[in-house]
Structures are given as structure tokens and as C-alpha cells.
């Protein structure tokens, strides 16, 4: 066995929820314990909030009375989704994925108590993955003391001390793709990418992902139209101080681009996504429908 292969691994990659997940740690020897912690936590999160399993708490809640008491875990996830909806002015809305009525404004949460309007269903898909990355990274760091970077289907969150060079993150339009990537480094926080070049649909209760080129039916939904977004931008990557924040901003930027196309405004006005990101001090990389790249804030050029 060579000296290289004998060295403890610090990065692991594995299949998750129809995509890829990864864990990287700074402390050799902590990778396996970290993977166990993350696996157990993701199991709890899936049982609470998955819309792909009939026995999840969220599916039961959506089928049940409009007033219900949630588990602490699901309550926290719903609270995050509503916070994101409020922060984005409804550009990211936990009620729009399902056909139905109402918006996030028809959902009320007080601690574990949830009340929603009739016909309003929750789908936490727009925020749960990023939130899970933040939660798992914090959990690993607090339990094991190691610096860690958790990646869940393209949503990445760092916690604890970073490597000397920072965490190297490859940026692509599809997190499964090995092509056309650039690399950035972060010392903390999170990075997320939203893209219209991938689409997801359900097949026999499973999540199936198809990669394509715009305009295709993708899983980014504009709450205004309840249809897949199109518009000037096809992919937006954002770095923020949390993965939830990064993911909310990348999705909101795509939706804003859709609004501009929807209203038929000029090219000048389609920069609204850029201005929205700048106003919030965010660093981002946007790719338009023709493949032209725009960087915002502190994103490396």
C-alpha cells in the first residue's frame, strides 16, 4: 500500500436523493464519524419533510387538518421556509410547488403550531436541502470539532475552521456534471446554485432528474405563474454566510429574471436580478441563456 493511499481520506462523495452529496473534513480520521452523523441527521430530515415518501410528517400534515402541531424539527424547517419567503418578498414560496390555492401569506406558525388556509399545501423543497446542509455542517463541527464542508445536491455549507487554502468548490450548471466548471474557494458560509438547465419530475414516487437545455420544464417555479421559470438567466450561483441564504438568493434571482421576461421589459430592466443581489451585498455568478457570464459583488472574475 502506498503512502498516499494509506493517508486518511478527508473527502467523501456519495449518492443522495437522486443526486450527489459530499462531506469534506479538515481533521484526518473524522470523515467516517462525520458521515455517520450526517447520514443519521439526513434520515431524520427526510422522515420529517420529504414529499417523496408517503409516511413523512409533512405529507401527513398536508393531508390532515389545516391546524396541526409539528415536531420541533419540521417546525424549524417550516419557520425557515417562511423566513425565506418573507426575505425574498415571496419570490421563494413554500406553497407553490403543489397545485393548490393560497401563498406563503396563508401559512401561520407559532412555535410548533401550524395553521394554513384551506387548500394550502407546503413543499419545503426550495429551502430544506440548503437548510439541511447548514444543519449538518454545524452538527459535525459541534460534535467532532473538525472543520467541515457538507454538500447536498449542489448546496454547500461550511462550519468550523477551514483548510489553510479555504474550501475549494467547483461551480457548474449541474452539480453532477464534470464539464465546464470553474473553481472558487470560501472560508466559511455557504454556496448554492439554482439552474433551469436541470429538471426534476416524479416517476412512481421517485425523484427523477433530467438534464437539458432551456427552455425546458425545470423545477424552479415562479410563485406568480406557478410555472417553471425561463427568462434571461439560466443559472445563478451565490455565496452567502449560510447555505440557506445563498440558495434563497440564487432562486430569487432566477425568478426575478422570469418576471422581467414575463412582462416583456427591456434588457436594461432584466438587470433587476443583479441589482437585487447587489442590494443584499451578495457575491454571485449568473449565466444567461446564451451562456454569457456576469459576476456580482465579490465573486472572482
Amino acid at each position: 500500500m502506498s503512502a498516499l493511499s494509506a493517508a486518511p481520506r478527508t473527502v467523501a462523495d456519495f449518492a443522495l436523493w437522486g443526486g450527489r452529496a459530499s462531506i469534506a473534513v479538515t481533521e484526518p480520521g473524522q470523515l467516517q464519524p462525520a458521515m455517520r452523523l450526517v447520514s443519521e441527521e439526513l434520515g431524520r430530515i427526510e422522515r420529517a419533510a420529504s414529499t417523496y415518501r408517503a409516511d413523512s410528517e409533512l405529507v401527513r400534515i398536508n393531508r390532515g387538518d389545516t391546524a396541526a402541531q409539528l415536531s420541533p424539527l419540521l417546525a424549524e424547517m417550516v419557520a425557515v421556509s417562511l423566513r425565506v419567503a418573507r426575505a425574498t418578498g415571496g419570490l421563494v414560496d413554500p406553497t407553490v410547488t403543489h397545485p393548490g390555492t393560497g401563498t406563503w401569506r396563508d401559512v401561520f406558525l407559532d412555535g410548533p403550531m401550524l395553521v394554513r388556509g384551506g387548500g394550502v399545501r407546503l413543499d419545503l423543497g426550495a429551502t430544506a436541502k440548503a437548510w439541511a446542509a447548514d444543519r449538518c455542517a454545524t452538527l459535525v463541527h459541534q460534535a467532532l470539532g473538525t472543520g467541515v464542508l457538507v454538500g447536498l445536491l449542489g448546496d454547500l455549507s461550511a462550519a468550523g475552521p477551514a483548510p489553510e487554502l479555504g474550501w475549494r468548490i467547483d461551480v457548474a450548471e449541474d452539480h453532477r456534471s464534470q464539464d465546464d466548471t470553474v473553481s472558487i474557494r470560501i472560508g466559511s458560509g455557504g454556496v448554492a446554485t439554482s439552474s433551469t438547465t436541470t429538471r426534476r419530475h416524479r416517476d412512481a414516487g421517485r425523484s427523477v432528474v433530467v438534464t437539458g437545455v432551456p427552455p425546458c420544464s425545470n423545477h424552479i417555479v415562479d410563485p406568480l405563474t406557478r410555472r417553471s421559470v425561463t427568462g434571461r438567466w439560466r443559472t445563478v450561483s451565490v455565496a452567502a454566510d449560510s447555505c440557506v441564504g445563498a440558495n434563497a438568493a440564487s432562486t430569487a434571482a432566477l425568478v426575478l429574471g422570469n418576471r422581467a421576461a414575463l412582462w416583456g421589459v427591456s434588457t436594461l430592466h432584466t438587470e433587476e436580478s443583479v441589482e437585487w443581489l447587489l442590494d443584499r451585498g451578495l457575491s454571485a455568478r449568473l449565466i444567461d441563456a446564451e451562456g454569457q457570464i456576469t459576476t456580482v459583488g465579490g465573486w472572482p472574475r
Binding site: 483548510p163 479555504g166 450548471e173 472558487i184 446554485t193 438547465t197 454566510d241 443584499r280
Partner: protein
């Protein structure tokens, strides 16, 4: 109506509605929403932490850098081995 007062009012409303249960709660909830709109009250649905403001979601600054910047990793030099020297993760649409 300030933010904390609004949060307390909504918490009390939700507690009452929850005690009443589903169908009755839904009807009252819709009525309550109409009244809230007439009052001009701001929407503040998550009372879990009423001190959190919208902008807190992006309160911190995180600026990524690249090896090509030359300032952080020494452009053109060999990259030291160890955590962080290779790719640690990949972002992209899902």
C-alpha cells in the same frame, strides 16, 4: 402596530384557532386575514423569533476567491497537499 405587538396578536390568534381545530379554524383564519388587511397590518407570520428581520438572512458578507486571484494561494506555485488542496465539493443545479 409594532412588530412585537403584531407577533403577540398573531400568537394568540393561532393558539385560539389551534384549540378550535381544522374546519372552524380555517373559516376564522380567513376572516382574521381580511381584518388584518383592513388594519393595514404588516405580514409577520413566523413568530418563532420575532426579533429576526428579513435582512438577517444576508447579514454577513461572504466573498469567495479563486486560485487565479494570486493573492491567496500564490498563483503559479505548487498547491500544498492536504485538506483543501483538491476539490472539497461541487455546486450546481439539482
Amino acid at each position: 402596530m409594532d412588530r412585537s405587538e403584531e407577533a403577540r396578536r398573531r400568537a394568540m390568534t393561532i393558539a385560539v384557532l389551534s384549540a378550535l381545530g381544522g374546519a372552524a379554524a380555517t373559516g376564522l383564519l380567513m376572516g382574521g386575514l381580511a381584518l388584518a388587511d383592513q388594519d393595514g397590518a404588516t405580514t409577520d407570520q413566523t413568530t418563532t423569533d420575532p426579533t429576526v428581520t428579513d435582512d438577517d438572512l444576508w447579514s454577513g458578507q461572504t466573498s469567495p476567491w479563486s486560485d487565479d486571484d494570486g493573492s491567496d494561494s500564490g498563483s503559479g506555485s505548487s498547491v500544498p497537499q492536504g485538506p483543501g488542496s483538491g476539490s472539497s465539493g461541487r455546486t450546481g443545479g439539482s
